[in-house]
Assembly symmetry: none
Homo-oligomer: 285 residues x 2
């Protein structure tokens, strides 16, 4: 599956995109930590999880980057020419599965946590989503390792069952609980689920490529690019949408907090009825 | 494009200036994080973004520095003589594009965020500025990779279109919204835009050098120095001006905060009408 040689353009593109993922995940994580005081305490758990997800992804992409860097080498000056696999070094695709095994359940936890639903409903959702997510990744792994298309198909199909179940929970069950959320939050949740559907869809497509006979250096380069972009969107961008939801909910919950976080004109737009009779919330940082 | 050999002076200069960029960006980022409590919460989002931009730049200059360090080597004792490209290692110019793809949209976000305009106007500005910035960088990349002047010209020209559009938005549309800003802020915004125009202007000039027949080791060294200085000004200095704007606006918004941050005489100068009838803002950290 890993090609014996890559052109310089292919090598450079993979090299740069892996670095792009490291930078995106690392600094998304740091941004989320730095911005914790910008949301109410009740939403900070979700943000901490989002930051951890991006941090874990940054760590694994460091590993992937170094593994890639050690596996291919050119013998031409200035990197002109092509890159060949180094004997004795193998590019380790398994890092991705280790990463997903940790981050995918956490991504679902973020989503449920930021909704701040009733505890009973939260527990019920998480008890179904998290095992399904772990199962989905674990079932994909034997297929990824196997060179045999039959085994790939088998585990690919098994892995799709929990994936479809997760989609069912998110699009049917979670939808029922959105009625109490502010309008803008409902919109953001829809964006989030759509992002999840599109980006998670990249993984099975990349997984299927060898079955479809699409192989070789170009397809492999495409797969690495696809995984990388999907990882940026599914973790960093996803986390930033979670942050946006947490901000909107914080402002809606606590007009005093909104007033300190927003300019006068922004706060007026968001909470035109500031003098409304609502309990004064505490905990504005 | 990358010269086969560099003189010791050229090598040392590039080496030192890359290190200068790392130091500038890294400590600008740390300074911005440390100084978050020195501005009101509503401007801290802009400062967090500014810190992230400098952090991302520091990360990429670490990469660029290491890539440069590994690509050239002298065989003379004590580095006297000249440096030649190492077989099997290529200096990776692509890091710059990866950096810009992330930081340039964020630089525009910083600027819009610190103005604290009405939300609708902010969204409208960002929805135009950020895609234009990403497009500008993405269109430059194929030209940078290409050795062919025709392709360079084509992509250079295409890349200029979003650049001109960004300048239009900043100099025409943003200007309209500055009437509500304090006098000193208006001045700082003008400085900021001028800085942006001058520093961003360095990139197309460096890009054009090969077309103008200016090539070889000296021109390449000049290009690296030019990019490095432009990056310090466009990110670290730019972020510090954003910080200054946030300080001025914080003092104007909240005289109590100004009194705690400034000496008595400074505060008097800034807010001569301290006993003015304005609501006492909360949330000053």
């Amino acid at each position: 599956m890993i090609p014996d040689t890559l052109t310089t353009a292919q090598y450079d593109t993979i090299y740069n995109i892996f670095s792009l993922v490291i930078a995106s995940q690392l600094f998304a994580a740091l941004f989320m930590i730095a911005c914790l005081p910008r949301i109410l305490p009740r939403y900070r758990q979700a943000m901490c999880v989002a930051a951890v997800v991006c941090g874990i992804a940054a760590y694994h992409y460091f590993r992937i980057f170094n593994s890639f860097n050690n596996s291919f080498q050119t013998d031409a000056v200035g990197g002109r020419g092509s890159y060949s696999q180094v004997v004795g070094e193998g590019f380790n695709e398994g890092y991705r599965y280790v990463d997903w095994l940790l981050t995918v359940p956490l991504l679902l936890l973020e989503l449920v946590a930021v909704l701040a639903l009733a505890r009973k409903l939260q527990t019920s959702l998480l008890l179904r989503l998290i095992p399904a997510a772990a199962l989905m990744i674990a079932l994909g792994y034997p297929g990824e390792l196997s060179g045999d298309n039959g085994i790939r198909n088998l585990f690919g199909t098994l892995s799709s069952i929990p994936f479809v179940y997760i989609l069912y929970v998110l699009f049917v069950e979670v939808t029922k609980s959105l009625d109490n959320q502010p309008e803008q939050v409902r919109k953001s949740i829809s964006q989030l689920r759509l992002l999840l559907l599109i980006t998670w869809g990249v993984y099975p497509i990349a997984y299927l490529l060898p079955q479809l006979g699409i192989d070789g250096a170009a397809a492999w380069t495409g797969k690495q690019i696809g995984y990388s972009i999907a990882d940026i969107l599914a973790k960093a961008l996803y986390g930033l949408i979670i942050y946006r939801i947490a901000r909107i909910k914080s402002f809606a919950d606590d007009p005093t907090f909104a007033a300190s976080e927003l300019s006068k004109s922004e706060a007026m737009e968001l909470n035109p009825r500031r003098d409304e009779d609502r309990p004064i919330p505490s905990g504005a940082a």
